[in-house]
């Protein structure tokens, strides 16, 4: 109910916002500030290891770099489609909003799939969080790499689900279940993604609770806030890409 009662921008009962905008947006900004410290710490840990270890591995060959570059382009393009979605929402164009958000989700999903493929290749070469096939005395490479990129991949996944809820609302719930089933049955039993895909099942429960206990029509403000989160995920990748991939290129 609170959403309907508090009319931001209407002078009178409530004191105007200190930041000149509605409180949900400030809430998202504050969350993003704290989240950037989380990523800051992970990037710091990775970079510290990178500099303090002389035989840090450089496993990313031409194929990996090309893959990561395509992933970067996907995220950048998804940010553009997200902005276009927010503009459509502000115009009141509901169909356009949904279409642009679905395009954003498509790019995000492509990013996750490409990243998962990259992880699989590295795991096949013997990289684990505790073991490094290229330099046995630098096990922290796997630990920091998987933590950093895994945390980012989790954020992208949550972002795609968040956008799905905003764009499709309850219609997104069966799609989530199908995605979970596809992920679970199409990945081999030993693969990390066979278990990781349960994140989607967990998200299904959370989304169902939110959508049934607090059903509402998401307006242009909600789309804008979802956009803020999405751009932040893109922003973090702009640091992971050079630090992790470009600083560890394998030049033959």
């Amino acid at each position: 109910m609170a959403d309907a009662v508090v009319q931001h921008g209407v002078s009178g009962v409530y004191e105007p916002s200190l930041f000149g905008t509605y409180s949900k947006k400030i809430g998202m900004w504050l969350f993003l500030l704290s989240d950037s410290l989380t990523f800051g710490a992970l990037l710091f840990a990775y970079s510290y290891g990178r500099i303090s270890t002389p035989n840090w591995p450089t496993p990313f060959g031409k194929e990996s770099i090309a893959n990561a570059t395509i992933m970067t382009a996907c995220l950048l393009s998804s940010s553009l489609t997200m902005v276009l979605g927010v503009l459509a929402a502000k115009r009141g164009d509901r169909k356009g909003t949904a279409r642009w958000i679905l395009a954003t989700m498509f790019f995000g999903a492509v990013f996750v799939v490409l990243h998962a493929r990259e992880w699989n290749n590295l795991i096949h070469e013997g990289l684990t969080p505790f073991n490094n096939p290229w330099a046995a005395n630098v096990p922290q490479f796997g630990g920091t790499f998987f933590t950093l990129t895994g945390m980012h991949m989790l954020h992208v996944t949550i972002g795609v689900i968040y956008l799905g809820v905003v764009a499709l609302r309850k219609k997104f719930l069966p799609i989530l279940l199908v995605l979970w089933a596809l992920g679970f049955f199409l990945t081999p039993a030993g693969s990390v993604f066979h278990y990781g895909v349960h994140v989607i099942l967990l998200a299904f429960v959370v989304c169902a609770l939110v959508l049934f206990l607090h059903p509402k029509d998401y307006d242009d403000h909600d789309v804008e806030i979802a956009g803020l989160y999405w751009h932040f995920v893109d922003l973090v990748w702009m640091f992971i890409f050079p630090l992790v991939y470009l600083m560890s290129t394998k030049i033959v």
């Binding site: 931001h8 921008g9 002078s11 004191e15 105007p16 916002s17 200190l18 930041f19 000149g20 905008t21 509605y22 400030i26 900004w29 500030l33 950037s36 410290l37 800051g40 710490a41 710091f44 970079s47 510290y48 290891g49 500099i51 303090s52 270890t53 002389p54 770099i65 570059t69 970067t72 382009a73 950048l76 393009s77 940010s79 553009l80 997200m82 902005v83 276009l84 503009l87 502000k90 804008e224 956009g227 803020l228 751009h231 932040f232 893109d234 922003l235 702009m238 640091f239 890409f241 050079p242 630090l243 991939y245 470009l246 600083m247 290129t249 030049i251």
Partner: protein, 107 residues
């Protein structure tokens, strides 16, 4: 209070063009980064500096245009960015220590 008079969510001309331009610039900067890394133009430490500088430009474009911070009021811009930069900078105080281990030896 003087703040009361200010309209919330400042309206401005919403043309799509700037966003396409920013997207293009971001893609070009990414391509530059990849080429620099691939050609190994600089020594690793310089490479790190150049890549981080380019990443800062990219993040400024994303925060300013895509996240719309450029169009928020001054108070919002300054409080958010100063808090963020201050906290992240505090983390990097320890960074010199990583360099010490390699170059000065562990005591």
């Amino acid at each position: 209070m003087h703040v009361a008079a200010r309209p919330i969510a400042a309206a401005h001309d919403e043309s799509k063009m700037p966003y396409f331009v920013v997207w293009g610039v971001l893609l070009v900067l990414t391509a530059v980064e990849v080429v620099l890394a691939y050609e190994q133009v600089f020594t690793p430490l310089h490479m790190l500096e150049v890549l981080m500088a380019l990443s800062l430009v990219k993040s400024a474009l994303i925060i300013g245009y895509f996240m719309h911070l450029k169009f928020e009021i001054a108070r919002m811009k300054w409080i958010m960015m100063v808090a963020l930069v201050a906290c992240l900078t505090l983390m990097f105080i320890f960074f010199a220590d990583a360099y010490r281990i390699v170059n000065l030896g562990v005591r």
